[in-house]
Amino acid sequence: MLTVENVHFSYPSGVEALKGISLTVKDGEFVAIMGQNGAGKTTLVKHFNGLLKPTSGKVRVDEVETTKTSVATLARTVGFVFQNPDHQLFSETVEEEIAFALKNFGYQAEAIENRVTWAVNLLGLSQYRKTSPFMLSGGERKRVALASVLAWDPKILILDEPTIGQDHRQKENLRQFIMQMQTQGKTIVIVTHDVEFVAECNPRVVLMREGKIVADGEGKEILTNPEALEQSSIVLPQVAQIFTHLSARGLPKNVIDIYEAKMLLLKVLEKRQI
């Protein structure tokens, strides 16, 4: 469980990036943190594994305060996949890249071998085991970065902008993958601008603006609230836009799921035919 208690954070340059954030993420929850550029999303999640320590306030991971322990210790519980895979890839082969963290955490050679195999299979990278990560495409590099974190099976997974530079199929794979992780009881936090992706996943949505949380709740409610989204420079998902326009016809406004939308529209159409 992640607990953030009235956290303020200022960068050494004096910019106050977080202005009193309180948030609790329960085990097994799936949370999307959204907001415009510079809202403090990445700054906030960097507190979750201790990369940044609050200027005031408290951040706890499973009741352990992040100021009282090291990033390396926290990282075993909290896996953090950075936005740009090029900021972490350095090994000669994909399998060495994935084994890097496992070696840091002191796993035995046999366990490393098993976990690397598990991770490359999970993300469809097994044919690239001996390839240099620098030879792979952008999407594949992103998957290697993800695999290198998943390999130690962290309980909490943080993904910073996981959909950037991914085509539709990869996004769908990612969504499937997140759902699968969720059924295994993992806590997942994603930081993203991608409103359509969030609409499809329908997680809990935390909306940030200028270092503060402006809205927090079910995706269905937040992503169909034009006032809240406007503040954070996010547009409504397309399905929600249609249903906002149709609300005068007696249809509900808070629809973001395509399947749900289809069922509602079919009902109206069928009524008409009779």
Partner: protein, 263 residues
Amino acid sequence: MSVFDGLKFRRVYSPIHNLDPRMKFVYVCAVFAAAILFGTVMPLAALFLMQIPFVLLARVQKQWLRSLRGALFLAAFIFFINVGTTFFTNGYVLTAVNVESAFAMTLRFVVLVESFSVFFLTTSPDHLGLALEQSRVPYEFSFAFTTAVRFVPVLAEEAQTIMDAQKARGLELEKGNFMKRIRNYVPVLIPLIVSAIRRSLELAEAMESRAWGATKERTNLYALKLHRGDFALLALTIGVLALTVYVYLFVHIPLISQLLGFA
């Protein structure tokens, strides 16, 4: 990365920022020369103090202090190496004179860092490029130079992100003995170098697509002109040089330890 903070330019306006970069550069060179010429504490301390009015006038004291703090480690290193070598070569005796000369070496380094930092804190990369161009340096070189200067803060930021990314994968930079610690930086340096190369290739493409080098004779929207302040700085520079040469040749500067009666 705090050393780099002292080299990061911020666009503010002050009498120092408005000075001609060429004059500032000549002044910094004069300070450099003086710092190298003197090897004792007192003149070096005078040189050190001389920069402080500039820092205050330019209102960059915060960043300036940060760069000095960044240089602290190296300064301490220089101090202990100097004390150590004299200690061992003099047959395991440590005299006040030795400590003072080690301190002077350290102070010399600090003066160099300090004046360099003031120069970069108060000179925009654009101005620097202009100055080089107007000093008849070929545009290719001046462009390469300004680009390099401009990329320092970008690279520093990127290095921080990379360190964070690797720490999130359990890398502990401060762990192990000296050799191990150096090896710990491999996972940081490789992505940094790769991305710097990638960035430079992208920059080259972007430049070519915007017809870089299409005209041989370049003109500038802004041209540097010398103002009254610049001549004042020039006068100061000449004064510093003259005084340095005079003192160096004709004045005997006592050591502080001699004055205090230790030697």
